[in-house]
């Protein structure tokens, strides 16, 4: 398994650049890499063996692949496969697929690395590849959105790098285990970098614009997998050290509520989805026990929603309420929405139940409120009108991609069969019912327009200093 892991982590980078040499095979090579990752991820989940590697002496690269990594890797692989299928017939150049596979590989690297510098390199490569994907249309807006993303992420990573230096100063090593002896300022700096990358709490306010203004397949990739790379290391830390769990629990609830608030008030489909990504990341961060399954089910459902929403005639809910969509499109939206709201029979239910079960009591209350909010958010999609007759035919590739995502969502139930008890099912249905009734009663009043000022670049950067102070203060608490 050891040499297999090294071969597998190197494969996407090797193939990614080969795509540039063999542009005719771009789509096939991309699918092959993603399928390999899916097989590797499944092997990690089902085999439950742990791969721990220390390459090149005690100063070298540390890798750790276990069941938790397996879920994240599987999610990454499935979403990438679906996006490649979606783009199959589109006029995308080999460059696009190269970037996509390099992105895929570096996201995988985040999920198995166990030292701060490997994580830094992987996160920076993700930043560059994501920028190139966002700016792929070469329009002024896409370049600006990409630049803004790169600006925020690079500044955050500079803070992270200082934190990593402080960890090294305290331990003489960059491995994750050194976090135990690290001073408070090191933890604050590291967390600031990861919070910004992972869209946690107010550090994540760059996310709605970036994810909603990107092209449809890129939005699906960013929301489905890329943001997980900021949260995954935090989950790893929470598993390694119990002392930092209270900070993460606080921020998980705050993130879930903030994201839900934004999503409820948004009037644009893609913006709603992007804002709900923030709140779902709060759920992923909430409890390490449920994190893997939650990230997997969220990534699959969110990618399906983005791919479908990108093919609707309009992005505004107002327009969608007036012109009914096709039944098939509505069914796709409904299935993915129900999963995110935690409806039984779809993987979102198991993930949500597991997360709520393993969180501490005060946290579970906050998360339940956020879950009701999520049900409200997705009733916006669920209660859109539809007509039966087919208006225009979508390409078979679109349905292949959606079929893969939704099929995997159903199959992923197999990872959490133990959650199907009567009490859990009733609770989930109750939460959804409350959400729907609130939407039915107040739906038309939820049209407050939020100021966009907080999403300006300067404010996004200024918020970093604020978060640094909060994190430092939180670290000093007993």
């Amino acid at each position: 398994m050891n040499s297999l892991t090294i071969a597998w982590i190197a494969l996407p980078l090797f193939v990614g650049f080969s795509i540039y040499l063999l542009p005719k095979l771009d789509r096939y090579l991309a699918i092959a890499v993603a399928t390999t990752s899916a097989a590797y991820g499944l092997a990690l989940i089902l085999g439950s063996n742990v791969v721990a590697l220390q390459l090149m002496d005690s100063f070298g690269v540390t890798l750790l692949a276990d069941q938790l990594s397996g879920y994240f890797i599987l999610g990454n692989a499935l979403v990438t496969t679906a996006v490649v299928l979606y783009c199959w017939k589109q006029a995308k150049s080999a460059f696009f697929f190269t970037q996509m596979i390099v992105l895929h590989g570096s996201v995988n690297a985040v999920f198995i690395c166990a030292d701060f510098i490997s994580l830094y390199v992987a996160l920076e490569v993700i930043g560059i590849a994501a920028f190139l994907l966002i700016a792929y249309p070469r329009t002024d807006r896409s370049i600006w959105v990409g630049l803004r993303y790169l600006f925020v992420s690079n500044t955050a990573m500079l803070f992270y790098l200082m934190g990593a230096a402080l960890v090294y100063q305290a331990n003489g090593s960059f491995a994750y285990v050194g976090l135990q002896q690290a001073p408070t300022d090191a933890i604050a700096l590291l967390f600031l970098g990861l919070f910004t990358k992972g869209g946690i709490f107010v550090s994540g306010l760059w996310l709605p614009l970036t994810h909603s203004e990107s092209e449809t397949p890129v939005s699906a990739l960013l929301s489905g997998v890329v943001v997980n790379t900021g949260v995954f290391p935090l989950v790893r830390f929470a598993l390694l050290f119990e002392e930092i769990q209270p900070i993460l629990q606080f921020f998980s609830v705050a993130t879930a509520l903030l994201g839900v608030g934004y999503a409820i008030l948004a009037r644009d489909t893609k913006r709603t989805l992007a804002a709900s990504t923030i709140s779902q990341l709060g759920f992923v961060l909430a409890a390490p026990a449920g994190a893997g399954l939650y990230a997997l089910s969220h990534g699959l459902a969110k990618a399906a929603l983005f791919l479908t929403a990108g093919n609707l005639p309009s992005r505004s809910f107002q327009a969608l309420r007036q012109t009914p969509m096709q039944l098939s499109m509505w069914a796709t939206l409904a299935a993915a929405s129900l999963s995110l709201a935690g409806f039984p029979l779809i993987a979102g239910f198991g993930a949500k139940t597991l997360t709520l079960k393993s969180s501490v009591p005060w946290q579970a209350n906050g998360l339940t409120i956020a879950a009701i909010g999520t049900a409200i958010v997705f009733s916006k999609f669920l209660f859109l009108p539809f007509v039966k007759e087919p208006a225009q035919k979508k390409s078979p590739n679109f349905w292949l991609a959606i079929g893969l995502l939704l099929g995997s969502l159903i199959l992923a139930n197999g990872f959490s069969l133990e959650t199907y008890t009567l009490a859990n099912i009733l609770k989930a249905l109750f939460v959804i019912g409350v959400g729907w009734s609130i939407y039915g009663l107040l739906g038309q009043y939820l049209t407050l327009k939020l100021p966009r000022a907080v999403e300006q670049l300067e404010h996004l950067l200024g918020v970093m200093s604020l978060m640094l102070v909060i994190l430092f203060g939180a670290g000093l608490l007993p």
Binding site: V121, D140, M162, F174, R452, E455
Partner: protein, 116 residues
């Protein structure tokens, strides 16, 4: 001496960070980011120098009593320098493209015309 250096390094980092926030011109923001990353790089060099100042190259003539600088942070920061470099280049290309429609490169103007 070391603490004075450390203070200077943090001043550089903070100066760069405030430049990123306060400068109105996109080009100046990117240059401020370079200043900030210079500060971070200097911090790694400082961390490396805690164990000594000698270049870490082993020689037969001298014993093990020489206080070598720690090679690990230096090696690590080399990677970060290269990454910082490439990101800077990428951003400048983006700025070149944007400057066609926004010759002043003022951030408020760019933001106004590119936010939905």
């Amino acid at each position: 001496m070391s603490s004075v250096l450390e203070a200077c390094i943090f001043a550089t980092v903070m100066g760069g960070f405030f430049g990123i926030i306060l400068k109105k011109n996109l080009m100046m923001k990117i240059l401020s980011m370079d200043v900030m990353s210079t500060g971070v790089i200097a911090f790694y060099v400082l961390v490396a120098s805690h164990s000594g100042l000698f270049t870490p190259i082993l020689e037969d003539t001298e014993g093990s009593s020489v206080a070598y600088a720690d090679p690990v942070p230096q090696a690590v920061i080399l990677t970060a320098i290269v990454i910082g470099f490439s990101i800077q280049a990428l951003m400048l290309v983006g700025v070149m493209k944007l400057s066609r429609d926004h010759p002043t490169l003022e951030i408020s103007e760019i933001e106004k015309s590119n936010t939905p």
